[in-house]
C-alpha cells in the first residue's frame, strides 16, 4: 500500500477482512482507489475488449477506442493479423489518430510527421540527419527505440481483446473453462456483421455497470417489460455461473410466458393487462444455437458485457472516465448467415436495449442515482446479501452471489 492510501480520509481499512457483501462507498468515489484500479485492472494483466474483427475487414482498416483512459488503435495488418497500438506518438505524446475508423498504410503524427508502420515501428523522422549539415538527431538515435506501445492481442472467433501487460495469461485461461463455453456459444466462428453503435455517458462508477449485469435480482422488479412479458423474472429456469476467480460471470435464463404469478405479487412494475399495440416489437424467433436459454449475459471483467437477449446481440464496452463516470459503448451485430428478416428483427429488438431501450435506459438511470447516494459519506456500505453471503454458482436467480464474487477478486488484486 502506498502512503497516499494510508493518508486517505476514506480509510480502506474500514472494510473488514473477509467481507464481500458490504461494499463501502469509497470504493466507488475515491480517486486513489480509482487510479489503482486503472493500473491493476485496465493496464495490468487483464484482457480488455477492443472490438470485433468485422469492424476492420481489410488490410489497413483501423478503429480507435480506449482501454481504461488510454487511447488505442486496433488495426489489421497486410498479413491479416490484428495489432493494437497505443495512440500516443513516441515523440511528444500526441494522440495522433483522431479519426474513429479508417484505412491507413501507416500512421503519421501531424505534429512533426513521425511515421509508424501498422505494427507500431517507427519508420522515420524528418530532419533526422539535419539540414545543410546542421542539427538533426544524434548518431545514436535509433528508430527501433521509439516505436508506439504495442499491446498484447488475443482474437477469439472474431472478438478482439488486448492487454498492456506482458504477464497476462492466455485469453482462454483468463476467461476460464466455466465461462468460455458461453462465450463460444455466441462467438463460435460464424462471421459477424456489424449493425452499428450506441454511445452514452453514464455518471456512475464503472463497477456499477458490471454489478448491474451480475444482478439478476433487479430485472424482474425494475423492468416492467421483463416481468410483464416474461423475458427475465425470478420464476424462470436460470443459472448463475462464474469463473474460479469470481471476476467473470454468466447470467443464463429461459423465458417463460410472463403474466400473473406468485413472483408478480406486489411487484409495482408488473402490468397485468399490458398489451402491445404493435406486437412486432416483441417478435422473437428462437434460434437453434441458443440450445434453450433465451438470454445469456456475460460480464468479462473489467471491460465488457456480452449480450444475448433473445434475438438481440451486442457487446457493451465500459470505458471509465474518472471514478464518477464511464462511457458505455454498445456494438450491435448479427451473423453473415442471417436472413433479411432476422437482420430486421435484431434491429427492431434493439428498441429494448441501449441508451433509449425499454429495459436498458433505466439501468443507466439507477446507476447514476446510486452514485449520487455514495458521495459525502464514505462510511456508507451497500448490502449485497440476497442468498446470504456465500459465493458460488447457483441454479436460480434469486441471488447476489456474482457481485460478491467480483468483490472478492477486486479486494485480492487491489490489496484493500
Amino acid at each position: 500500500m502506498n502512503p497516499a492510501d494510508t493518508e486517505s480520509p476514506t480509510a480502506p481499512s474500514s472494510w473488514p477482512a473477509g467481507n464481500f457483501s458490504r461494499i463501502p462507498a469509497w470504493a466507488y468515489t475515491d480517486k486513489d482507489v480509482y487510479q489503482k484500479e486503472l493500473d491493476r485492472f485496465f493496464y495490468g494483466p487483464h484482457w480488455s475488449y477492443v472490438g470485433l474483427e468485422a469492424e476492420i475487414p481489410e488490410a489497413g482498416s483501423f478503429k480507435r477506442t480506449k482501454i481504461g483512459e488510454r487511447s488505442v488503435i486496433m488495426v489489421r495488418h497486410r498479413s491479416g493479423a490484428v495489432h493494437v497500438l497505443e495512440n500516443r506518438c513516441a515523440h511528444r505524446g500526441m494522440r495522433f489518430c483522431q479519426e474513429r475508423h479508417g484505412k491507413a498504410r501507416s500512421f503519421t503524427c501531424p505534429y512533426h510527421q513521425w511515421t509508424y508502420n501498422l505494427e507500431g515501428k517507427l519508420l522515420g523522422v524528418p530532419f533526422r540527419n539535419g539540414v545543410k549539415g546542421k542539427g538533426g538527431m544524434d548518431k545514436d538515435f535509433q528508430l527501433e527505440d521509439h516505436g508506439l506501445s504495442k499491446l498484447k492481442v488475443a482474437v477469439r472467433n472474431g472478438v478482439v481483446f488486448a492487454s498492456f501487460s506482458e504477464d497476462v495469461p492466455s485469453f482462454e485461461d483468463y476467461v476460464g473453462p466455466t465461462v468460455l463455453p458461453w462465450f463460444d456459444r455466441t462467438f463460435d466462428g460464424r462471421k459477424l456483421v456489424l449493425h452499428g453503435y450506441s454511445r452514452q455517458r453514464i455518471p456512475g462508477n464503472w463497477k456499477l455497470m458490471l454489478e448491474n449485469i451480475k444482478d439478476p435480482y433487479h430485472p424482474g422488479l425494475l423492468h416492467t417489460w421483463f416481468v410483464t412479458f416474461g423475458l427475465w423474472r425470478a420464476d424462470q429456469q436460470s443459472t448463475l455461473l462464474m469463473d474460479d476467480h469470481g471476476r467473470h460471470a454468466c447470467m443464463i435464463s429461459q423465458r417463460n410466458e410472463g403474466g400473473k404469478a406468485d413472483v408478480t405479487e406486489g411487484v409495482t412494475s408488473f402490468r397485468e393487462n399490458m398489451k402491445l399495440n404493435d406486437p412486432s416489437l416483441l417478435d422473437i424467433v428462437p434460434e437453434p444455437w441458443w440450445g434453450g436459454p433465451t438470454v445469456c449475459m456475460i460480464t468479462l471483467f473489467p471491460s465488457v458485457i456480452l449480450q444475448q437477449q433473445v434475438n438481440c446481440l451486442s457487446t457493451r464496452q465500459i470505458i471509465p472516465c474518472g471514478p464518477d463516470a464511464f462511457d458505455f459503448v454498445w456494438t450491435h451485430f448479427g451473423f453473415e448467415e442471417d436472413t433479411p428478416e432476422m437482420h430486421e428483427r435484431r434491429l427492431r429488438l434493439a428498441n429494448l436495449f441501449g441508451p433509449g431501450g425499454f429495459v436498458s435506459a433505466d439501468d443507466g438511470e439507477v446507476v447514476e442515482m446510486s452514485q449520487d447516494g455514495f458521495h459525502h459519506d464514505p462510511a456508507f456500505t451497500t448490502v449485497c446479501e440476497l442468498d446470504g453471503t456465500k459465493i458460488g454458482n447457483t441454479d436460480h436467480n434469486v441471488s447476489e452471489t456474482l457481485i460478491r464474487g467480483m468483490y472478492r477478486y477486486w479486494r485480492e488484486v487491489m490489496e484493500l
Binding site: 452499428g196 416492467t224 417489460w225 399490458m274 416489437l281 428498441n351 433509449g356 438511470e365 442515482m369
Partner: protein, 160 residues
C-alpha cells in the same frame, strides 16, 4: 416544375412543426403519434451510424401503433429521473415532390432540464422528414432524426 412549396403550404408545414414541438414540450405525448401516418416511420439515429450506412437506431418505430407503445413505455414503464424537454426547431428547407408530398430538412436542438438542475443539451441534430397529406391534414410519413451528439447524457426516454 416548381420544386418549392407555395406560401400557403409553407405556413401549413410550419404549423405542423410547431405542433410537433408543442406535443413533446408541454408535453402532450399521447398526441405525438397522431402527427404521423398510420404506417409512419420514426427513427432516432446517431450520425455515426447514418453516415456509415449502419442500420442500428437508438429508437426505431415502424408504425403509429409502435409509437403509442413507446409513449406508454416512456410514461409508464421506464423508470427515469423526471425532466422537461424543450425543442427548438429551425426553419425547414423544403422540396416539393411530384406527387405533392414534401421532403423537409430541419435542424433541431433539445434542451433537458431535470429537477433541481441546470438546463443542459440532451440532443442536437437534423430531421429528414417526408410529409404527406392524409385525410386533409399534413402528417409525417417518415421522420429520420440524425443526431450529432456523440454521447447521450445517460439516457433518452421520450421521443425527440
Amino acid at each position: 416544375m416548381n420544386v418549392t412549396p407555395d406560401l400557403a403550404l409553407r405556413a401549413e408545414i410550419q404549423d405542423l412543426y410547431a405542433e410537433y414541438a408543442s406535443c413533446l414540450n408541454e408535453p402532450r405525448f399521447e398526441e405525438w403519434p397522431e402527427l404521423f401516418c398510420k404506417t409512419g416511420q420514426y427513427k432516432l439515429v446517431p450520425r455515426e451510424n447514418h453516415t456509415a450506412g449502419l442500420g442500428l437506431a437508438t429508437i426505431a418505430l415502424s408504425s403509429r401503433a409502435m409509437m403509442k407503445d413507446r409513449i406508454y413505455g416512456a410514461s409508464n414503464t421506464l423508470f427515469h429521473a423526471p425532466y422537461y424537454q424543450r425543442h427548438i426547431i429551425s426553419l425547414p428547407r423544403l422540396r416539393l415532390e411530384e406527387d405533392g408530398s414534401v421532403r423537409a430538412t430541419t435542424n433541431y436542438v433539445v434542451f433537458r432540464t431535470k429537477y433541481d438542475a441546470m438546463t443542459d443539451i440532451l440532443n442536437a441534430g437534423v430531421y429528414h422528414d417526408h410529409i404527406v397529406r392524409e385525410n386533409g391534414a399534413l402528417r409525417f410519413a417518415e421522420k429520420l432524426c440524425v443526431y450529432d451528439s456523440e454521447l447521450i447524457p445517460n439516457s433518452i426516454i421520450y421521443p425527440i
